[in-house]
Subunit: 432 residues, 4 copies
């Protein structure tokens, strides 16, 4: 065998095979190797200690699923699938998350970064190693790969394989996160789905003989959101992280030298002048190193929050509804409930701006196509034996029960010691 | 149920239960949480991308196995096992690796640190949170826990559960590393072993009905060493890491300010004045942050090595034997073989001191007790039905084939580009 | 360890431990060993070739789950669970299916036998080995065990552990059938459920922290019914089996000697004078042996049907609704649709009485308690943190979507050769 | 997709795909379907209750592995593998065990049948359905398939895939038996082996990068023999079965009518005039049906043995060596040891000819090629990177420890009640 054959042992997919030099070269770029230093699940690894896997292994898995599908299409559907799409599909699969940064979600809301824009820039900017590899295929190839990820690629089959309600990305992360957390409910029959998936003129469909496997995938997705991704303890870490970075941003204005010394990589972000290079130099380890420095800062709020994050001292929380958030206390009728709780926290000596927080987690497990929605979803199509297409929730009562309905909750976080405050406790018990 | 019951989802052991407040408090100390930031397998995660788990999850697993065994002994062997040993055994299991630092093996050889001494210090020094928790049990308790780990505890049953050729530590890491790498050969029948393990007056024995499970454990251990722990790619990363730190140590003498700025946590080690606090402040993320800074240092050697490590650009390698290392080249008979190879590397413009290296990995999969050895091993004893004890290799031809024999190899590492040098290549082909 | 300890290797539960002599003696009775000769899934093994496991292994698994629960209750709930219930619960779990016969469902409808009544008789009749073992516990003990299975035992906790919408029986068969068929969708988190199950004054409840595990169990149950238990191919075998036994019953009246020679064990059933002894002497192997004899009978219908069953030559099928069954053909308006199809079959030379059939499979995946129903179900109760109980479907939208709704279909079976008949085909295509 | 595509859910291989009409037609023959009625592991299912799988599922698995290999060879080794061999290889894989009968080993020694000769006859006799299907490929095709199984096919690559020390047959049965018994030690890395297997001019070789996977396969094989296949309880059932059939054979001479009525299928064998048709009409269910009839025979020996077999009342056993078998008792020096034991059994009222027995189980886990042996084995060849071949045990110390050495033991079986006889017990204890 003269051709390239690299094998990666993967606990989820057994072996991942790379037989194309472009793919192999992409894996070896600095921008892709950087994904080893960013955890796939962010703060969830503090709740599910087994789930410390990185975005690197997830991206390898998405590539593997995309390769399996495109190989299968090439062999089985010569009339509806064009094998020239294989490489662009596989590259997009591998690179779809390359713009993710450390603690992306928290970071993005504070510093107005956008991992999707970053992904595009890493792929298309001539300065990156990834761009150089992709250009070997052709001058337009980087742009093509980027357009798949941004849904602008002309062939909807390719776009849907990478990004739809059942795509290579989601299939890998559900299985992988289930494997690493140990959550059996996240498993579904990938082999079956990869056998009934088929290219259609307008996109991707699933033969009816595998309908129940697709249905089970939707349920697995729902279960993973409810039990893993929305876990209150991980969200506590996110609230602490957000408050910590917020505090640092404020303090930076007062003592720029301190932050330039202890956390130089964040300075461009504090000054709102970050570029691609700055973005790529941050990762989980760099951020945690900064936080560890801050633990000995003289500002009590900064040092306490940093210590809480590094040593995993959680804020406690209670669930609340939007109604309750607005709700006036029945007796005093002076202030909305959460404001009252924040007042108690303040009385105990905590700045509520930094030692409390709200966290909302909501998910729409599945939806059919709603043309008038501002973000319409590509619905999952079941290919009947007579060649007609049926939308998934029409044939599955379970999926119908989840379609279009939002699941999740809002939680209010506060210092654990507040549970010893009788009035605070009373307020919670009678109103929440 | 009034008692404490904390549950940790673990992908290897399903669920880990903590029902003792002391154990729970130990887990929540800063020193133990720090283990989340140190990878269990060090550089192996660069070869087996799935194996990114931390020492935290391993320590949880060792605790779980120790708890399972002590609960079983308490129920089944009231005459030979003293339940008062349960807590000290479980604490020692949980804490046995607490002194591990970032990239321990490489680090220790360069900076004369010792993770076993560190473990003892973390447990017995009054300044640590762990010590404070243990003192709640009794003033001597920290010392007792430490003595189990250092093999000085009077009850050999307890010592052997934590440290012997088949102990809670090894059983967890084999299963865990197998799970995360995806290596099926690392699996063995833990349930069976935990059923046939028994306390004996002088230590721990295994009932003969489980002999084959124990035998299979020894084979699994051997396979994991050969296929995972000794993998040439991971060792390449170790050679780079060692050379990188070596170079930094040398450069520190020339430019102390640079290192104080970019890598303050390493300064005490460069100056050979480190203490416990310094040691605990280093972890994988901190080290990688420093290496990332060094990538833009003006010293080419430092920046190149840092870049090779961070971006995973491996040195290539060939196996050699001790004979070959000494061997004179047949034609020139001027210098030993490896020296000649180093010369070629130098001619290509690489400093061989920093861009080559040798790496030896050898393991003794099992040995019976050799009283005259300087580190005699506790042999594995099989309890026959008549009550007599037989050493494992006497009843297992497979174990006998591995007992007392050393497996592994030595490898010489060099820059990949050397493979294009015809003379270098010729020298390798004809001599190795 | 002086006490009994027998270990059974089980692929689903790893190891099953028997520590009570009564349980061990029950396993060794002739009536229980007989379960080895009856397949758990009947004709499904002809569709899922991996699923050839017997009722013996299922009953061992149900015992194991019941033992795990009662051990857990004994340890954790001394105030709400009486340990004196342990043995009766475990015996009932082990024996709950002991009255099952060969191809129970088909057999029962033809010969008016009832496996539940048989279970009771096997347990309470003084002639059985099982009864003799149980009497060693006490004279009333057989009756107590039987009353658990028939829901008459006074303690509802015990009854619900053996028979409710989430009991030891269902939990084992879902996991076991999933393991043997290879159906990943049948898996759920048994460990978690066994941790949150709790005794309550009026029965069994599940702590809210495990609600999603219970929810996932309901979905697994639904998936197994849809994909495994209701598979059209297995039902084809059931139709053939039913028609075969029907034919034999008719022919017996014409040639009693033939059947006395080839299938003596069925004679008492043909003559409607069967007793316990007759019932216990039939099993899958005996029945198949009879069918193999019948393959050379001179009656073409009998021999063909026997051959179809033994050699797995299936009838084909189409789904129909009750409306369609009654429906008059649009053109001829002469006869209901299925009658017309049967006419075509007859024209092709097949007796429609024996070479066609309808098969209905419907399941109610879950229901809440309906006091006015003629078979009200014990609903699944979730124990909230404040001690209150909530019915499962109130907190789970997925379960709500399945609660009270019936799933399944009716199929019409016919000879495969009919698919070549253009008129038959036309009739199917335009109407079904 | 116009071509045939049949999918079989398999718990070991996930899905088995059939894309060739010939293979599908072979599966649907009466002779192949018959394998559903014969357990893969014979009496082992009485020891490992989970292992009730049939030869049918094993044969499907062997076909699947052979198909995976031939597809891989076709794609990757166009120069050394001829794709025209694919079908004959797959047919031979599917049919290699089709001549197995009920309880083959016991049966063959008593009735001089030979399952390998039967396999050949089923394939080549014009009367079988299998032969008719194979003839559709060509008039010589049945003979070709048979010659692969009998090692006479000219291409050694094909022969070795079906029958060698590491072939599709062994790979499936080890994994399958491990899956169904629950024995984790039987697992090995099939995916890896199927990636490094390669055709060579003189047969099949394995690339050195997979050497440890092959080594682990040999260890798994050894473990399965020691722990599963040679289990004393299963062998007890075999001794009972052998004695039972022996007794029936003797009694047949005295009462032919009884056996013609209760066990007509065995009569041709009792009269030593069996043909293919007779052979094919026996299976596990038929045999057990006969044994159940014999339980009420008036001959106490026959009825007791039948009852012991059906109800699993085991004979007990002790291990002995050939030396001990010959050994004279130290005190009486009158008779060899086993004869003395048999005397005691007789004194207790049991006919030692039928209620005792010896059972030898020995295995040679691996051997290299020994040209002078009367059954030389094809050794396992490792393909080095330089293209040279090395025999496996030369590179694996573990395999070397097993190569050429025989493992197993001999056991003497006797009635359980003898353990209460003090003299018998004394004799065992002092001599065995």
């Amino acid at each position: 065998m003269a051709h390239l054959e690299k094998v990666f042992r993967d606990p989820v997919h057994d072996y991942i095979h790379v037989e194309n030099q472009i793919i192999y070269d992409l894996i070896n770029t600095a921008e892709f190797q950087r994904l080893r230093r960013i955890k796939q699940l962010g703060t969830s690894s503090y709740t599910f200690h087994g789930a410390e896997h990185s975005r690197f292994s997830h991206c390898m898995g998405v590539y593997h699923i995309a390769k399996t599908i495109t190989d299968w299409f090439t062999k089985s559907y010569p009339e509806t699938w064009n094998p020239e799409e294989n490489l662009v599909t596989q590259c997009a699969a591998l690179l779809h998350d390359v713009g993710h940064g450390a603690y992306s979600h928290t970071f993005e809301s504070l510093f107005a970064t956008d991992h999707e824009a970053m992904t595009r820039e890493i792929i298309t900017a001539p300065s990156t190693e990834i761009n150089a590899v992709l250009r070997k295929v052709g001058p337009d190839f980087p742009e093509q790969v980027a357009s798949v990820i941004s849904h602008d690629y002309p062939n909807p089959q390719v776009v849907q394989l990478i990004s739809s309600q059942i795509d290579a990305d989601r299939m890998d992360y559900l299985l992988r996160d289930a494997y690493y957390t140990g959550a059996v409910y996240g498993q579904f029959d990938l082999t079956r789905i990869l056998r009934v998936i088929a290219p259609h003129e307008d996109g991707i469909v699933f033969r009816v003989s595998g309908m129940h496997a697709v249905e089970d995938y939707i349920v697995s997705r729902y279960q993973m959101y409810m039990q893993v991704y929305f876990h209150p303890a991980s969200r506590s870490m996110e609230v602490i992280l957000q408050n910590l970075l917020q505090r640092a941003k404020v303090l930076y204005q007062l003592d720029q030298e301190y932050f330039a010394q202890t956390s130089p990589g964040l300075v461009p972000f504090f000054e709102n002048r970050q570029n691609l290079h700055h973005y790529l130099s941050l990762d989980d380890g760099v951020m945690n190193t900064y936080f560890q420095s801050w633990m000995s800062n003289t500002d009590d709020t900064l040092s306490q929050l940093a210590s809480m994050y590094i040593n995993r001292h959680l804020l406690k929380s209670i669930e609340f509804t939007q109604d309750q958030e607005q709700q006036l206390d029945l007796f005093s009728s002076e202030a909305p409930l959460l404001d009252q709780l924040r007042e108690f926290v303040e009385k105990e000596g905590f700045d509520p701006h930094y030692f409390t927080g709200t966290h909302n987690n909501f998910d729409l497990p599945y939806d059919f196509y709603r043309p008038n929605s501002n973000k319409p979803r590509t619905q999952i199509e079941i290919l009947q034996k007579d060649g007609s297409l049926t939308e998934l929730s029409e044939v599955s009562p379970i999926v119908a029960s989840l379609a279009g309905t939002i699941h999740g909750n809002s939680r209010f976080y506060f210092p654990k010691v507040m549970l010893k405050n009788p009035e605070f406790n009373q307020l919670i018990r009678t109103n929440l």
